[in-house]
Protein backbone atom coordinates (compact mmCIF):
# COMPACT_ATOMS: atom_id res chain seq x y z
CA UNK A 1 0.00 0.00 0.00
CA UNK A 2 1.27 3.40 -0.84
CA UNK A 3 -0.91 5.42 1.41
CA UNK A 4 -3.85 5.33 3.72
CA UNK A 5 -6.22 5.73 0.86
CA UNK A 6 -3.92 4.02 -1.43
CA UNK A 7 -3.46 1.72 -4.29
CA UNK A 8 -0.98 -1.08 -4.05
CA UNK A 9 2.34 0.01 -5.46
CA UNK A 10 3.76 -3.38 -6.25
CA UNK A 11 1.82 -6.23 -7.70
CA UNK A 12 1.70 -8.79 -10.41
CA UNK A 13 0.63 -7.30 -13.71
CA UNK A 14 -2.83 -8.49 -14.59
CA UNK A 15 -2.25 -8.01 -18.26
CA UNK A 16 0.85 -10.11 -18.04
CA UNK A 17 -0.92 -13.27 -17.03
CA UNK A 18 -2.78 -13.26 -20.25
CA UNK A 19 -6.18 -11.73 -20.23
CA UNK A 20 -8.88 -13.38 -22.23
CA UNK A 21 -8.87 -10.67 -24.78
CA UNK A 22 -5.22 -10.58 -25.64
CA UNK A 23 -2.61 -13.10 -26.41
CA UNK A 24 0.04 -10.55 -27.21
CA UNK A 25 3.33 -9.89 -25.52
CA UNK A 26 2.98 -7.07 -23.04
CA UNK A 27 5.51 -4.94 -21.23
CA UNK A 28 8.33 -2.61 -22.10
CA UNK A 29 9.84 -4.96 -24.68
CA UNK A 30 6.61 -5.12 -26.61
CA UNK A 31 6.28 -1.38 -26.21
CA UNK A 32 9.70 -0.72 -27.65
CA UNK A 33 9.24 -3.15 -30.50
CA UNK A 34 5.76 -2.26 -31.51
CA UNK A 35 4.79 0.90 -33.29
CA UNK A 36 1.41 -0.29 -34.45
CA UNK A 37 -1.49 2.05 -34.27
CA UNK A 38 -3.80 1.45 -31.35
CA UNK A 39 -6.06 4.46 -31.80
CA UNK A 40 -6.48 6.28 -35.07
CA UNK A 41 -8.88 9.13 -35.71
CA UNK A 42 -9.43 10.48 -39.21
CA UNK A 43 -11.34 13.70 -39.53
CA UNK A 44 -13.48 12.85 -36.53
CA UNK A 45 -16.22 15.44 -36.15
CA UNK A 46 -19.24 15.82 -33.93
CA UNK A 47 -22.11 18.23 -34.24
CA UNK A 48 -24.91 18.61 -31.72
CA UNK A 49 -28.27 19.74 -32.98
CA UNK A 50 -30.78 21.24 -30.59
CA UNK A 51 -34.06 19.33 -31.00
CA UNK A 52 -36.06 22.54 -30.41
CA UNK A 53 -34.21 25.26 -32.29
CA UNK A 54 -32.37 22.90 -34.71
CA UNK A 55 -29.33 25.07 -34.06
CA UNK A 56 -26.10 23.18 -34.70
CA UNK A 57 -23.25 23.39 -32.23
CA UNK A 58 -19.87 22.10 -33.31
CA UNK A 59 -18.50 19.80 -30.62
CA UNK A 60 -15.49 18.50 -32.48
CA UNK A 61 -14.09 19.38 -35.88
CA UNK A 62 -11.81 17.29 -38.02
CA UNK A 63 -9.78 15.55 -35.31
CA UNK A 64 -7.02 13.49 -36.83
CA UNK A 65 -4.44 11.74 -34.69
CA UNK A 66 -2.73 8.44 -34.21
CA UNK A 67 -1.66 6.77 -30.98
CA UNK A 68 0.78 3.91 -31.19
CA UNK A 69 1.11 0.95 -28.85
CA UNK A 70 2.61 1.74 -25.47
CA UNK A 71 2.26 5.51 -25.75
CA UNK A 72 0.88 7.57 -22.90
CA UNK A 73 -0.95 10.50 -24.42
CA UNK A 74 -2.47 13.41 -22.56
CA UNK A 75 -5.47 15.20 -23.99
CA UNK A 76 -5.30 18.82 -22.93
CA UNK A 77 -7.70 21.63 -23.41
CA UNK A 78 -9.88 24.10 -21.57
CA UNK A 79 -13.42 23.28 -20.49
CA UNK A 80 -15.67 22.75 -23.48
CA UNK A 81 -12.78 22.30 -25.89
CA UNK A 82 -13.86 18.82 -26.93
CA UNK A 83 -11.75 16.49 -24.78
CA UNK A 84 -14.64 14.50 -23.33
CA UNK A 85 -16.38 14.50 -26.71
CA UNK A 86 -13.27 12.92 -28.24
CA UNK A 87 -13.11 10.25 -25.56
CA UNK A 88 -16.83 9.51 -25.76
CA UNK A 89 -16.63 9.17 -29.53
CA UNK A 90 -13.82 6.68 -29.18
CA UNK A 91 -15.68 4.66 -26.57
CA UNK A 92 -18.92 4.50 -28.54
CA UNK A 93 -20.99 6.70 -26.24
CA UNK A 94 -21.34 9.32 -28.97
CA UNK A 95 -21.79 8.74 -32.68
CA UNK A 96 -19.54 10.76 -34.99
CA UNK A 97 -21.22 13.14 -37.42
CA UNK A 98 -18.33 12.82 -39.85
CA UNK A 99 -15.02 11.06 -40.02
CA UNK A 100 -13.97 7.74 -38.64
CA UNK A 101 -11.84 6.26 -35.93
CA UNK A 102 -10.25 2.91 -35.30
CA UNK A 103 -9.13 1.04 -32.24
CA UNK A 104 -6.78 -1.86 -32.83
CA UNK A 105 -7.53 -1.37 -36.55
CA UNK A 106 -11.24 -2.03 -36.04
CA UNK A 107 -13.72 0.78 -36.67
CA UNK A 108 -15.11 2.17 -33.43
CA UNK A 109 -18.61 1.49 -34.73
CA UNK A 110 -17.84 -2.19 -34.23
CA UNK A 111 -18.43 -3.15 -30.58
CA UNK A 112 -15.54 -5.63 -30.72
CA UNK A 113 -13.15 -2.70 -31.03
CA UNK A 114 -13.83 -2.11 -27.32
CA UNK A 115 -12.83 -5.59 -26.25
CA UNK A 116 -9.32 -4.57 -25.29
CA UNK A 117 -10.37 -1.20 -23.91
CA UNK A 118 -10.64 -0.04 -20.32
CA UNK A 119 -12.53 3.22 -19.83
CA UNK A 120 -12.94 5.44 -16.81
CA UNK A 121 -15.55 8.15 -17.38
CA UNK A 122 -15.30 11.53 -15.71
CA UNK A 123 -16.86 11.35 -12.23
CA UNK A 124 -17.85 7.71 -12.62
CA UNK A 125 -21.28 6.63 -11.43
CA UNK A 126 -22.09 3.14 -10.26
CA UNK A 127 -24.97 0.88 -9.32
CA UNK A 128 -25.40 1.75 -5.67
CA UNK A 129 -27.24 -1.49 -4.92
CA UNK A 130 -24.15 -3.57 -5.74
CA UNK A 131 -21.11 -4.07 -3.56
CA UNK A 132 -17.57 -3.54 -4.77
CA UNK A 133 -16.91 -7.18 -5.49
CA UNK A 134 -20.15 -7.67 -7.41
CA UNK A 135 -19.46 -4.56 -9.47
CA UNK A 136 -15.97 -5.65 -10.48
CA UNK A 137 -17.23 -9.15 -11.28
CA UNK A 138 -19.88 -7.65 -13.51
CA UNK A 139 -17.34 -5.35 -15.17
CA UNK A 140 -14.98 -8.25 -15.79
CA UNK A 141 -17.65 -10.52 -17.18
CA UNK A 142 -19.02 -7.84 -19.49
CA UNK A 143 -15.52 -7.43 -20.87
CA UNK A 144 -15.18 -11.11 -21.64
CA UNK A 145 -13.83 -12.80 -18.50
CA UNK A 146 -15.38 -16.09 -17.44
CA UNK A 147 -17.12 -16.32 -14.09
CA UNK A 148 -14.25 -17.81 -12.09
CA UNK A 149 -11.64 -15.47 -13.56
CA UNK A 150 -13.90 -12.46 -13.02
CA UNK A 151 -14.30 -13.35 -9.34
CA UNK A 152 -10.57 -13.90 -8.90
CA UNK A 153 -9.68 -10.62 -10.55
CA UNK A 154 -12.40 -8.74 -8.71
CA UNK A 155 -10.88 -9.81 -5.41
CA UNK A 156 -7.38 -9.08 -6.65
CA UNK A 157 -8.24 -5.60 -7.90
CA UNK A 158 -10.26 -4.69 -4.85
CA UNK A 159 -7.12 -5.37 -2.85
CA UNK A 160 -4.91 -3.49 -5.24
CA UNK A 161 -6.96 -0.33 -5.05
CA UNK A 162 -7.17 -0.50 -1.27
CA UNK A 163 -10.80 -1.65 -1.02
CA UNK A 164 -10.15 -5.30 -0.29
CA UNK A 165 -10.97 -5.10 3.40
CA UNK A 166 -14.64 -4.33 2.69
CA UNK A 167 -15.60 -6.30 -0.41
CA UNK A 168 -19.27 -6.49 0.59
CA UNK A 169 -19.75 -2.81 1.35
CA UNK A 170 -22.50 -1.49 -0.93
CA UNK A 171 -21.42 1.26 -3.27
CA UNK A 172 -23.86 3.81 -1.89
CA UNK A 173 -21.64 3.89 1.19
CA UNK A 174 -18.44 4.57 -0.78
CA UNK A 175 -16.71 7.96 -0.61
CA UNK A 176 -15.83 9.84 -3.79
CA UNK A 177 -12.22 8.73 -3.62
CA UNK A 178 -13.24 5.11 -3.11
CA UNK A 179 -15.57 5.30 -6.13
CA UNK A 180 -12.81 6.75 -8.28
CA UNK A 181 -10.51 3.90 -7.29
CA UNK A 182 -13.24 1.37 -7.92
CA UNK A 183 -13.78 2.95 -11.34
CA UNK A 184 -10.11 2.51 -12.13
CA UNK A 185 -10.23 -1.08 -10.95
CA UNK A 186 -13.27 -1.68 -13.19
CA UNK A 187 -11.39 -0.19 -16.14
CA UNK A 188 -8.41 -2.46 -15.47
CA UNK A 189 -10.01 -5.67 -14.22
CA UNK A 190 -9.90 -7.42 -17.59
CA UNK A 191 -6.30 -6.43 -18.34
CA UNK A 192 -6.98 -4.03 -21.20
CA UNK A 193 -4.31 -3.04 -23.72
CA UNK A 194 -5.76 0.45 -24.09
CA UNK A 195 -6.84 2.65 -21.21
CA UNK A 196 -8.94 5.74 -21.79
CA UNK A 197 -9.32 7.86 -18.70
CA UNK A 198 -11.41 11.00 -18.56
CA UNK A 199 -10.07 13.30 -15.86
CA UNK A 200 -8.88 10.42 -13.66
CA UNK A 201 -7.54 12.73 -10.94
CA UNK A 202 -10.57 14.98 -10.83
CA UNK A 203 -11.83 15.64 -7.32
CA UNK A 204 -9.21 13.51 -5.61
CA UNK A 205 -7.13 14.58 -2.62
CA UNK A 206 -3.32 14.62 -2.97
CA UNK A 207 -3.07 11.02 -1.73
CA UNK A 208 -5.65 9.86 -4.22
CA UNK A 209 -3.92 11.73 -7.04
CA UNK A 210 -0.62 10.17 -6.16
CA UNK A 211 -2.18 6.72 -6.10
CA UNK A 212 -3.83 7.17 -9.48
CA UNK A 213 -0.57 8.52 -10.88
CA UNK A 214 1.27 5.45 -9.64
CA UNK A 215 -1.32 3.18 -11.17
CA UNK A 216 -0.98 4.90 -14.53
CA UNK A 217 2.81 4.68 -14.33
CA UNK A 218 2.54 1.01 -13.50
CA UNK A 219 0.26 0.38 -16.49
CA UNK A 220 2.65 2.35 -18.63
CA UNK A 221 5.52 0.11 -17.51
CA UNK A 222 3.40 -2.89 -18.55
CA UNK A 223 3.11 -1.48 -22.04
CA UNK A 224 -0.53 -0.43 -21.83
CA UNK A 225 -1.43 2.36 -24.22
CA UNK A 226 -3.01 5.20 -22.27
CA UNK A 227 -5.03 8.17 -23.43
CA UNK A 228 -6.22 10.47 -20.72
CA UNK A 229 -7.59 13.93 -20.35
CA UNK A 230 -6.66 16.11 -17.44
CA UNK A 231 -6.71 19.64 -16.23
CA UNK A 232 -3.88 18.98 -13.84
CA UNK A 233 -0.93 19.86 -16.01
CA UNK A 234 1.86 18.77 -13.65
CA UNK A 235 0.34 15.30 -13.70
CA UNK A 236 0.24 15.31 -17.49
CA UNK A 237 3.83 16.49 -17.57
CA UNK A 238 4.83 13.69 -15.23
CA UNK A 239 3.00 10.88 -17.05
CA UNK A 240 2.79 11.60 -20.75
CA UNK A 241 4.98 10.84 -23.71
CA UNK A 242 2.91 13.08 -25.90
CA UNK A 243 0.14 15.63 -25.59
CA UNK A 244 -2.76 16.50 -27.87
CA UNK A 245 -3.92 20.05 -27.28
CA UNK A 246 -7.57 20.59 -28.19
CA UNK A 247 -8.96 24.10 -28.58
CA UNK A 248 -12.41 25.08 -29.81
CA UNK A 249 -13.11 21.50 -30.85
CA UNK A 250 -10.02 21.25 -33.02
CA UNK A 251 -6.66 19.62 -32.54
CA UNK A 252 -4.40 22.64 -32.04
CA UNK A 253 -1.19 20.74 -31.49
CA UNK A 254 0.19 17.25 -31.20
CA UNK A 255 3.73 16.95 -29.92
CA UNK A 256 5.89 14.79 -27.74
CA UNK A 257 6.56 16.31 -24.39
CA UNK A 258 10.25 16.39 -25.27
CA UNK A 259 9.65 18.39 -28.46
CA UNK A 260 7.28 20.69 -26.69
CA UNK A 261 9.75 21.39 -23.94
CA UNK A 262 12.68 21.72 -26.33
CA UNK A 263 10.88 24.47 -28.19
CA UNK A 264 9.77 26.18 -25.06
CA UNK A 265 11.63 28.80 -23.13
CA UNK A 266 15.13 27.66 -22.13
CA UNK A 267 16.98 29.36 -19.37
CA UNK A 268 19.33 28.71 -16.50
CA UNK A 269 19.12 29.58 -12.84
CA UNK A 270 22.43 30.25 -11.10
CA UNK A 271 22.33 30.09 -7.31
CA UNK A 272 25.25 31.57 -5.43
CA UNK A 273 26.32 32.99 -2.08
CA UNK A 274 28.76 35.58 -0.91
CA UNK A 275 28.14 37.72 -3.90
CA UNK A 276 29.19 41.33 -3.47
CA UNK A 277 26.88 43.93 -4.90
CA UNK A 278 27.45 43.30 -8.57
CA UNK A 279 26.15 45.47 -11.30
CA UNK A 280 24.98 43.44 -14.28
CA UNK A 281 26.77 44.59 -17.43
CA UNK A 282 24.42 46.58 -19.69
CA UNK A 283 24.81 44.06 -22.55
CA UNK A 284 23.28 41.31 -20.42
CA UNK A 285 20.53 43.23 -18.67
CA UNK A 286 17.81 42.05 -20.99
CA UNK A 287 18.76 38.41 -20.45
CA UNK A 288 19.97 38.26 -16.88
CA UNK A 289 17.92 39.04 -13.78
CA UNK A 290 19.02 39.11 -10.20
CA UNK A 291 16.83 37.98 -7.25
CA UNK A 292 17.90 38.15 -3.64
CA UNK A 293 16.84 35.31 -1.35
CA UNK A 294 17.40 34.67 2.34
CA UNK A 295 19.91 31.95 1.54
CA UNK A 296 21.76 33.76 -1.23
CA UNK A 297 21.33 35.22 -4.66
CA UNK A 298 19.69 33.73 -7.73
CA UNK A 299 20.50 34.88 -11.24
CA UNK A 300 17.96 34.03 -13.93
CA UNK A 301 19.59 33.72 -17.30
CA UNK A 302 17.10 33.56 -20.14
CA UNK A 303 19.70 32.71 -22.80
CA UNK A 304 21.68 29.56 -21.99
CA UNK A 305 24.38 30.42 -24.56
CA UNK A 306 25.68 33.10 -22.22
CA UNK A 307 26.15 30.65 -19.37
CA UNK A 308 29.94 30.27 -19.61
CA UNK A 309 30.52 34.01 -19.73
CA UNK A 310 28.17 34.72 -16.83
CA UNK A 311 29.70 32.00 -14.65
CA UNK A 312 33.18 33.29 -15.42
CA UNK A 313 32.10 36.82 -14.59
CA UNK A 314 30.65 35.69 -11.26
CA UNK A 315 33.77 33.69 -10.36
CA UNK A 316 35.97 36.67 -11.15
CA UNK A 317 34.02 38.66 -8.58
CA UNK A 318 34.55 36.06 -5.83
CA UNK A 319 31.09 34.58 -5.91
CA UNK A 320 30.72 31.01 -4.61
CA UNK A 321 28.42 29.01 -6.92
CA UNK A 322 25.91 26.69 -5.27
CA UNK A 323 23.85 25.41 -8.18
CA UNK A 324 23.40 25.91 -11.89
CA UNK A 325 20.00 24.59 -12.92
CA UNK A 326 18.56 24.48 -16.43
CA UNK A 327 15.04 25.92 -16.47
CA UNK A 328 12.33 24.50 -18.72
CA UNK A 329 9.07 26.05 -19.58
CA UNK A 330 6.31 24.31 -17.67
CA UNK A 331 3.61 22.51 -19.60
CA UNK A 332 1.20 25.11 -18.33
CA UNK A 333 3.22 27.90 -19.96
CA UNK A 334 3.41 25.93 -23.18
CA UNK A 335 -0.28 25.15 -23.04
CA UNK A 336 -1.13 28.80 -22.53
CA UNK A 337 1.14 29.72 -25.43
CA UNK A 338 -0.65 27.19 -27.62
CA UNK A 339 -3.98 28.57 -26.47
CA UNK A 340 -2.81 31.98 -27.60
CA UNK A 341 -3.13 33.40 -24.10
CA UNK A 342 -6.87 33.34 -24.57
CA UNK A 343 -8.15 34.70 -21.28
CA UNK A 344 -11.23 32.53 -20.75
CA UNK A 345 -9.22 29.45 -21.62
CA UNK A 346 -6.39 30.37 -19.36
CA UNK A 347 -8.82 30.63 -16.46
CA UNK A 348 -10.08 27.16 -17.12
CA UNK A 349 -6.69 25.59 -16.66
CA UNK A 350 -5.71 25.02 -13.10
Amino acid sequence: MTSNSGLAATHTPSGGDGGPVTGEVRGPVARAMSARSVVRAEGLSKEYRSPWTLKVVQGLEDMTFDITAGEVVGLLGPNGAGKTTTLKLLTGLLKPTRGSAFMFDEPITNVHSRKRLGFLPEQPYFYDYLNGREYLELAGRLSGLDSREATRRADEWLGRVGLGDRPRLVLRKYSKGMLQRLGLAAALVHGPELLILDEPMSGLDPFGRRDVRELILEQRSLGTTILFSSHILPDVEMLCDRVLIVLHGRLARSATLHDLMAHGANGVEIRCVGAPVLEIPPAWRARLERHEHADGTAFQLSDATLLDEVVQWLMQHGVRLRAVTPQRASLEELFLAAAGHDAPHAQAVS
Binding site: L93, K95, S113, P121, Y127, Y129, A139, L142, A186
Partner: protein
Protein backbone atom coordinates in the same frame (compact mmCIF):
# COMPACT_ATOMS: atom_id res chain seq x y z
CA UNK B 1 -24.32 -14.20 -22.79
CA UNK B 2 -24.11 -10.40 -22.51
CA UNK B 3 -27.94 -9.99 -22.34
CA UNK B 4 -27.98 -12.62 -19.60
CA UNK B 5 -25.38 -10.73 -17.57
CA UNK B 6 -27.31 -7.49 -17.93
CA UNK B 7 -30.57 -9.31 -17.16
CA UNK B 8 -29.05 -10.74 -14.00
CA UNK B 9 -27.91 -7.32 -12.92
CA UNK B 10 -31.31 -5.78 -13.70
CA UNK B 11 -33.00 -8.58 -11.77
CA UNK B 12 -30.71 -7.81 -8.84
CA UNK B 13 -31.55 -4.11 -9.15
CA UNK B 14 -35.30 -4.78 -9.15
CA UNK B 15 -35.25 -7.32 -6.35
CA UNK B 16 -33.00 -5.20 -4.13
CA UNK B 17 -35.30 -2.24 -4.59
CA UNK B 18 -37.50 -1.87 -1.53
CA UNK B 19 -40.35 -1.15 -3.90
CA UNK B 20 -40.57 -4.81 -4.87
CA UNK B 21 -40.61 -6.04 -1.27
CA UNK B 22 -43.24 -3.41 -0.48
CA UNK B 23 -45.44 -4.51 -3.36
CA UNK B 24 -45.17 -8.19 -2.43
CA UNK B 25 -46.16 -7.35 1.16
CA UNK B 26 -49.03 -5.24 -0.18
CA UNK B 27 -50.09 -8.14 -2.37
CA UNK B 28 -50.09 -10.53 0.56
CA UNK B 29 -52.07 -8.01 2.63
CA UNK B 30 -54.54 -7.68 -0.24
CA UNK B 31 -55.04 -11.46 -0.29
CA UNK B 32 -55.67 -11.36 3.44
CA UNK B 33 -58.16 -8.53 2.96
CA UNK B 34 -60.17 -10.61 0.50
CA UNK B 35 -61.06 -12.88 3.41
CA UNK B 36 -62.54 -9.97 5.33
CA UNK B 37 -64.41 -8.63 2.31
CA UNK B 38 -65.49 -12.16 1.43
CA UNK B 39 -67.68 -12.28 4.52
CA UNK B 40 -69.86 -9.65 2.85
CA UNK B 41 -69.99 -11.55 -0.44
CA UNK B 42 -72.77 -13.91 0.59
CA UNK B 43 -71.26 -17.27 -0.33
CA UNK B 44 -69.11 -15.89 -3.11
CA UNK B 45 -65.93 -15.78 -1.01
CA UNK B 46 -64.10 -18.25 -3.24
CA UNK B 47 -64.95 -16.40 -6.43
CA UNK B 48 -64.10 -13.04 -4.82
CA UNK B 49 -60.80 -14.32 -3.46
CA UNK B 50 -59.69 -15.63 -6.85
CA UNK B 51 -60.92 -12.60 -8.77
CA UNK B 52 -59.45 -10.01 -6.39
CA UNK B 53 -56.30 -12.05 -5.87
CA UNK B 54 -55.57 -12.33 -9.62
CA UNK B 55 -56.52 -8.70 -10.24
CA UNK B 56 -54.22 -7.70 -7.38
CA UNK B 57 -51.31 -9.62 -8.92
CA UNK B 58 -51.86 -7.91 -12.28
CA UNK B 59 -52.24 -4.48 -10.69
CA UNK B 60 -49.20 -4.77 -8.43
CA UNK B 61 -47.19 -6.06 -11.37
CA UNK B 62 -48.28 -3.02 -13.35
CA UNK B 63 -47.21 -0.74 -10.48
CA UNK B 64 -43.82 -2.43 -10.47
CA UNK B 65 -43.45 -1.87 -14.21
CA UNK B 66 -44.49 1.78 -13.86
CA UNK B 67 -42.33 2.49 -10.82
CA UNK B 68 -39.21 0.50 -11.69
CA UNK B 69 -39.50 -0.71 -15.28
CA UNK B 70 -40.15 2.65 -16.90
CA UNK B 71 -36.98 4.12 -15.41
CA UNK B 72 -34.80 1.14 -16.27
CA UNK B 73 -32.95 2.76 -19.15
CA UNK B 74 -33.74 6.42 -18.50
CA UNK B 75 -32.34 6.24 -14.98
CA UNK B 76 -29.13 4.67 -16.26
CA UNK B 77 -28.75 7.52 -18.74
CA UNK B 78 -29.61 10.14 -16.12
CA UNK B 79 -27.20 8.67 -13.57
CA UNK B 80 -24.59 7.98 -16.25
CA UNK B 81 -24.14 4.38 -15.10
CA UNK B 82 -24.73 3.46 -18.73
CA UNK B 83 -21.24 4.81 -19.56
CA UNK B 84 -19.70 1.90 -17.71
CA UNK B 85 -21.69 -0.60 -19.75
CA UNK B 86 -21.78 0.74 -23.28
CA UNK B 87 -18.06 1.55 -23.29
CA UNK B 88 -17.53 -2.21 -23.07
CA UNK B 89 -17.98 -4.62 -25.99
CA UNK B 90 -21.76 -4.58 -25.65
CA UNK B 91 -24.14 -3.91 -28.52
CA UNK B 92 -27.01 -1.63 -27.65
CA UNK B 93 -29.63 -4.22 -28.57
CA UNK B 94 -27.98 -6.64 -26.11
CA UNK B 95 -28.26 -4.01 -23.42
CA UNK B 96 -31.97 -3.42 -24.08
CA UNK B 97 -32.78 -7.12 -24.26
CA UNK B 98 -30.92 -7.65 -20.99
CA UNK B 99 -32.82 -4.85 -19.28
CA UNK B 100 -36.16 -6.18 -20.49
CA UNK B 101 -35.35 -9.78 -19.59
CA UNK B 102 -34.14 -8.86 -16.09
CA UNK B 103 -37.21 -6.79 -15.30
CA UNK B 104 -39.50 -9.45 -16.74
CA UNK B 105 -37.81 -12.11 -14.61
CA UNK B 106 -38.44 -10.00 -11.49
CA UNK B 107 -42.11 -9.69 -12.48
CA UNK B 108 -42.43 -13.44 -13.06
CA UNK B 109 -41.01 -14.02 -9.58
CA UNK B 110 -43.59 -11.62 -8.08
CA UNK B 111 -46.39 -13.32 -10.04
CA UNK B 112 -45.20 -16.77 -8.95
CA UNK B 113 -44.90 -15.70 -5.30
CA UNK B 114 -48.32 -14.07 -5.11
CA UNK B 115 -49.92 -16.81 -7.23
CA UNK B 116 -48.56 -19.45 -4.86
CA UNK B 117 -49.79 -17.42 -1.89
CA UNK B 118 -53.26 -17.23 -3.47
CA UNK B 119 -53.30 -20.98 -4.10
CA UNK B 120 -52.14 -21.62 -0.49
CA UNK B 121 -54.84 -19.30 0.85
CA UNK B 122 -57.53 -21.19 -1.06
CA UNK B 123 -56.12 -24.53 0.09
CA UNK B 124 -56.17 -23.37 3.71
CA UNK B 125 -59.80 -22.35 3.23
CA UNK B 126 -60.50 -25.88 2.01
CA UNK B 127 -61.07 -24.88 -1.62
CA UNK B 128 -59.40 -27.33 -3.99
CA UNK B 129 -59.27 -27.87 -7.74
CA UNK B 130 -58.03 -24.35 -8.53
CA UNK B 131 -54.40 -25.19 -9.14
CA UNK B 132 -54.52 -25.47 -12.94
CA UNK B 133 -56.79 -22.51 -13.59
CA UNK B 134 -54.77 -20.38 -11.20
CA UNK B 135 -51.51 -21.45 -12.83
CA UNK B 136 -52.88 -20.57 -16.28
CA UNK B 137 -54.19 -17.22 -15.10
CA UNK B 138 -50.89 -16.34 -13.40
CA UNK B 139 -48.98 -17.46 -16.50
CA UNK B 140 -51.08 -15.18 -18.71
CA UNK B 141 -50.66 -12.32 -16.23
CA UNK B 142 -46.90 -12.87 -16.40
CA UNK B 143 -47.08 -12.69 -20.21
CA UNK B 144 -49.15 -9.51 -20.01
CA UNK B 145 -46.62 -7.87 -17.71
CA UNK B 146 -43.76 -9.00 -19.95
CA UNK B 147 -45.45 -7.27 -22.88
CA UNK B 148 -46.02 -4.11 -20.82
CA UNK B 149 -42.35 -4.22 -19.75
CA UNK B 150 -41.25 -4.23 -23.40
CA UNK B 151 -43.31 -1.07 -23.91
CA UNK B 152 -41.74 0.40 -20.76
CA UNK B 153 -38.25 -0.34 -22.12
CA UNK B 154 -39.20 1.23 -25.46
CA UNK B 155 -40.50 4.39 -23.75
CA UNK B 156 -37.62 4.45 -21.27
CA UNK B 157 -35.04 4.36 -24.05
CA UNK B 158 -36.66 7.42 -25.61
CA UNK B 159 -37.80 9.57 -22.73
CA UNK B 160 -37.55 10.55 -19.07
CA UNK B 161 -38.78 8.20 -16.31
CA UNK B 162 -41.92 10.26 -15.62
CA UNK B 163 -42.93 10.54 -19.26
CA UNK B 164 -42.07 6.87 -19.82
CA UNK B 165 -44.41 5.93 -16.97
CA UNK B 166 -47.19 8.05 -18.47
CA UNK B 167 -46.72 6.64 -21.97
CA UNK B 168 -46.60 3.08 -20.64
CA UNK B 169 -49.73 3.62 -18.58
CA UNK B 170 -51.42 5.05 -21.67
CA UNK B 171 -50.48 1.99 -23.73
CA UNK B 172 -51.71 -0.27 -20.91
CA UNK B 173 -55.09 1.45 -20.55
CA UNK B 174 -55.76 1.66 -24.27
CA UNK B 175 -54.52 -1.92 -24.61
CA UNK B 176 -57.07 -3.10 -22.04
CA UNK B 177 -59.81 -1.52 -24.14
CA UNK B 178 -58.39 -2.55 -27.51
CA UNK B 179 -61.48 -4.71 -28.33
CA UNK B 180 -63.83 -1.79 -27.62
CA UNK B 181 -61.58 0.55 -29.56
CA UNK B 182 -61.54 -1.79 -32.54
CA UNK B 183 -65.35 -2.09 -32.44
CA UNK B 184 -65.67 1.70 -32.22
CA UNK B 185 -63.20 2.16 -35.10
CA UNK B 186 -65.38 0.01 -37.34
CA UNK B 187 -68.32 2.30 -36.72
CA UNK B 188 -66.40 5.59 -36.90
CA UNK B 189 -66.35 7.39 -40.26
CA UNK B 190 -63.38 7.99 -42.58
CA UNK B 191 -60.07 9.16 -41.20
CA UNK B 192 -61.17 8.85 -37.58
CA UNK B 193 -62.06 5.20 -38.13
CA UNK B 194 -58.72 4.47 -39.80
CA UNK B 195 -56.82 6.29 -37.06
CA UNK B 196 -58.61 4.46 -34.28
CA UNK B 197 -58.14 1.18 -36.08
CA UNK B 198 -54.41 1.87 -36.44
CA UNK B 199 -54.17 2.70 -32.72
CA UNK B 200 -56.09 -0.44 -31.81
CA UNK B 201 -53.67 -2.51 -33.89
CA UNK B 202 -50.63 -0.78 -32.43
CA UNK B 203 -51.47 -1.09 -28.73
CA UNK B 204 -51.09 -4.54 -27.16
CA UNK B 205 -54.11 -6.77 -27.21
CA UNK B 206 -54.17 -7.15 -23.43
CA UNK B 207 -57.61 -8.80 -23.07
CA UNK B 208 -55.94 -11.82 -24.66
CA UNK B 209 -54.09 -12.32 -21.38
CA UNK B 210 -57.12 -11.95 -19.12
CA UNK B 211 -58.66 -15.19 -17.89
CA UNK B 212 -59.46 -14.01 -14.39
CA UNK B 213 -63.20 -14.57 -14.84
CA UNK B 214 -62.62 -18.13 -16.05
CA UNK B 215 -60.28 -18.86 -13.14
CA UNK B 216 -62.76 -17.54 -10.60
CA UNK B 217 -65.20 -20.14 -11.99
CA UNK B 218 -62.48 -22.84 -11.71
CA UNK B 219 -62.44 -23.08 -15.50
CA UNK B 220 -59.32 -23.59 -17.55
CA UNK B 221 -58.59 -22.23 -20.98
CA UNK B 222 -57.57 -24.13 -24.10
CA UNK B 223 -53.96 -24.98 -24.97
CA UNK B 224 -54.50 -23.09 -28.23
CA UNK B 225 -55.31 -19.91 -26.30
CA UNK B 226 -52.16 -20.31 -24.20
CA UNK B 227 -50.07 -20.94 -27.32
CA UNK B 228 -51.53 -17.98 -29.22
CA UNK B 229 -51.06 -15.71 -26.20
CA UNK B 230 -47.46 -16.85 -25.84
CA UNK B 231 -46.68 -16.35 -29.52
CA UNK B 232 -48.41 -12.97 -29.50
CA UNK B 233 -46.38 -11.87 -26.46
CA UNK B 234 -43.13 -13.01 -28.07
CA UNK B 235 -43.97 -11.22 -31.31
CA UNK B 236 -45.10 -8.01 -29.58
CA UNK B 237 -42.05 -7.92 -27.32
CA UNK B 238 -39.82 -8.54 -30.33
CA UNK B 239 -41.38 -5.62 -32.22
CA UNK B 240 -41.22 -3.28 -29.21
CA UNK B 241 -37.58 -4.15 -28.53
CA UNK B 242 -36.68 -3.81 -32.22
CA UNK B 243 -38.21 -0.32 -32.22
CA UNK B 244 -36.41 0.49 -28.98
CA UNK B 245 -33.12 -0.67 -30.50
CA UNK B 246 -33.66 1.40 -33.64
CA UNK B 247 -34.24 4.50 -31.52
CA UNK B 248 -31.46 3.70 -29.07
CA UNK B 249 -28.85 2.84 -31.67
CA UNK B 250 -28.39 6.43 -32.82
CA UNK B 251 -28.69 7.95 -29.37
CA UNK B 252 -25.82 10.02 -27.99
CA UNK B 253 -24.87 9.89 -24.33
CA UNK B 254 -23.60 13.39 -23.57
Amino acid sequence: MIPLLIARNTFREATRDRMLAGLVVTGLALLGATQVIGVLALGETRRLTVDLGLSGIALLGLFLVLLVGTSLVAKEIERKTIYNLLSRPIARYQYLIGKWAGMSAALWVVCALLGTALWALLAVRGVHGHALSLAEAVYLTGLELTVVTSIAVLCSSLSTPVLSALYTLGFYLVGQWSYDLRAFAEKAPGVLGHTLSAIANMVPNLPLFNMRTLASETLTTTPAHLLIATLYAVAYCGCALALATAAFESRDFK
